[in-house]
């Protein structure tokens, strides 16, 4: 187990190194000049050159990347070009909001998705089942910005139940979390349905029924726990999808998280921030996948980690 863990951690570190190299190279090679952004339109060629030298952007790629990497291993993500503060501080200030949104979204999608999946599995083949599966399909096919705008329109503008945007209280969280969660709930309900159907087919369920247990007891005590466990591991993988949606959802709702930070930085070519957010997101994705793999043998002891 310890050996496996070490090996996986080493692999994860390598992947993150790769992500940093690829992102750094893309931002280095792309046809956008951050120095022009910083200096402004009216700057002279001399000023532009000076800024370029100050930031070390006149150095060859290898030197620039090495400098970034040595900073990175000391926890230094560099300084924002335009905001004159440390990227690590900017991200640290925004991270709690994004994590809160993530927790909200996960709770929403698990509650909604698992409930729908269980009901569909128990009523397999019925009209309820078909309706729920169509709803799930709509959930996974809906563009998040449209869902966000529509929820805003109905529940904030028309009904006035929730604020139109912003951050701070529980009611601020509901609409963004629901927007993020609707996509995931579609996936979870489909997975939960097939997992539950699979479990209900097992011999031990028939045994439980045969020995005279009530149907609801069989479902709650025997089927449900076994069907839910494989789904739990999926939460780790879900992180990747979440990290994608965060930019759009945070900008629709004005949610002050790292997604909005990234979007503002992208528009102004503030490369250190783009690098920082990409790396933090990649870290989250890699960690999520790692956790999903580590949790699996606890859930199903037949699976051994190698």
């Amino acid at each position: 187990m310890a050996g496996y863990l070490l090996q996986r951690l080493f692999q994860s570190a390598l992947i993150l190194l790769g992500v940093s190299l690829v992102t750094f190279f893309l931002l280095y090679a792309l046809p956008a000049d951050p120095v022009r952004q910083i200096a402004g339109r009216s700057a002279t060629a001399q000023t532009v050159e000076n800024i370029r030298q100050q930031l070390g952007l006149d150095q060859p790629f290898v030197v620039q990347y090495w400098r970034y990497l040595t900073g990175l291993v000391q926890g230094d993500l560099g300084r924002s070009y335009l905001q004159k503060s440390q990227v690590s501080e900017l991200i640290a200030a925004r991270l709690p909001a994004s994590l809160l949104l993530m927790v909200g979204a996960i709770v929403f999608e698990l509650v909604l998705g698992l409930t729908m999946g269980v009901i569909a599995a128990l009523r397999r083949g019925s009209a309820t089942d078909q309706t729920l599966m169509i709803v799930s399909f709509i959930g996974v096919s809906a563009p998040q910005f449209v869902v966000g705008l529509l929820l805003l329109y109905v529940f904030a503008v028309q009904l006035g139940w929730f604020p139109i945007g912003g951050y701070g209280t529980f009611s601020h969280l509901v609409l963004p979390a629901a927007t993020m969660g609707i996509l995931g709930s579609g996936w979870y309900s489909r997975m939960m349905r097939s997992s539950m159907i699979e479990v209900l087919r097992q011999d031990y369920i028939r045994t439980a029924r045969a020995k005279g247990l009530a149907r609801y007891r069989v479902i709650l005590r025997h089927a449900l726990p076994n069907a839910i466990l494989p789904i739990i591991a999926m939460i780790g993988i879900d992180v990747g999808i979440f990290m994608g949606g965060i930019v759009v959802v945070e900008s629709v709702f004005g949610w002050p998280g790292i997604g909005q930070l990234a979007w503002q930085a992208i528009q102004r070519i503030d490369i250190p921030i783009i690098m920082g957010v990409t790396l933090v997101s990649a870290c989250a994705i890699v960690l999520g996948n790692l956790l999903a793999d580590l949790v699996t043998p606890f859930i199903d002891p037949r699976i051994r980690l190698r």
Binding site: F137, L149, L150, I285
Partner: protein
């Protein structure tokens, strides 16, 4: 002898039976109809509407200069500039379908080449390709796409390239797994003993077996692509106005959406319908084409 070890469902016999099984699925038929509607709407747009997509009509705005809601003259209303929304949505279908098919096609080709090469040749080539695929999996795809699209001068072809760059990874992973298990089967070994070269084995024996998987991922991938294009265009870094795209219609009009919700609702519904359609068809295809799934409905 060549076919001796092959499973009964060779790719040649699949299409008719698979198609007829597909036709028995209600959801698949719904999906196919939706795709047909979008396709016909895109092709016959000039005949279906009396307006042109960029006409800023004199009577397209109220006296106060606000967009007009759905009415007899403008079935889905008009946008902020007094253009007919239905017309822009019909022409926007061209953008969505074009990008959906082309970008996803390129992604699928990249995914197939990477996955099959890595799975068949293994060794250091396969190792390098799959490590790179793992690396791409760790990227937050949408963030990467947004960064790329924002930094280039936005245009339709940049959007296509960005989507292809981001979207090949899933297909590569799936095809890699299938190819490795195929390459170990007896009929491939037999073929090699008979003196067949790598190219012959790849094109005559491996690829035909992968056709079902490629079709399924190709269909599901169009859905992802349509959503990604809409998202990029919504952020203003995808297809650029005045070329209509469902995403950029919402982008152009969102400041006004509290007063004119139809400007978000109708293009949004169009995006949802098209993405849903390809998901439904892809899902049904997976059930129909995958022999292990058969009967488990």
């Amino acid at each position: 002898m060549t076919k001796a070890g092959a499973p009964e469902i060779s790719a040649e016999t699949l299409p008719p039976s698979a198609l007829s099984r597909l036709a028995h699925r209600k959801m698949a038929l719904v999906g196919i109809s939706l795709i047909l509607i979008a396709f016909l709407g895109a092709v016959f747009a000039p005949w279906l509407t009396p307006y042109s997509p960029n006409d800023q009509m004199f009577d397209g705005l109220t006296l106060e200069g606000a967009p007009i809601g759905p009415s007899a003259t403008f079935v889905l209303g008009t946008d902020l500039l007094g253009r007919d929304l239905l017309t822009r949505i019909l022409y926007g279908a061209r953008t969505s379908l074009l990008i959906g098919v082309v970008a996803n096609g390129i992604a699928l080709v990249i995914g197939t080449v990477v996955g099959v090469t890595a799975g068949y040749f293994r060794g250091w080539v396969g190792g390098v390709l799959m490590r790179f695929t793992d690396l791409m999996m760790a990227f937050p795809a949408l963030l990467l796409a947004i960064t790329l699209a924002a930094i280039f001068q936005p245009s339709l072809w940049i959007v296509v390239m960005v989507i292809a760059t981001v979207n090949w990874v899933q297909a590569a992973r799936v095809l890699y797994t299938e190819t490795t298990s195929l390459a170990e089967r007896e009929f491939i070994a037999a073929e090699r003993t008979l003196g067949a070269g790598n190219l012959r084995i790849l094109f005559r024996h491996i690829l035909p077996h992968l056709v079902p998987t490629i079709i399924v991922w190709g269909t599901l991938g169009i859905s992802t692509t349509v959503l990604l294009e809409a998202t990029l265009s919504y952020l203003g870094i995808g297809v650029q106005p005045p070329t209509p795209s469902w995403g950029n219609i919402i982008f152009e009009n969102q400041t006004y959406f509290q007063a004119a919700p139809w400007l978000v609702f109708f293009p949004g519904a169009a995006i949802l319908m098209l993405a849903l359609a390809f998901n439904l068809v892809g899902d049904a295809l997976r059930d129909v084409l995958d022999p292990t799934q058969r009967g488990s409905e």
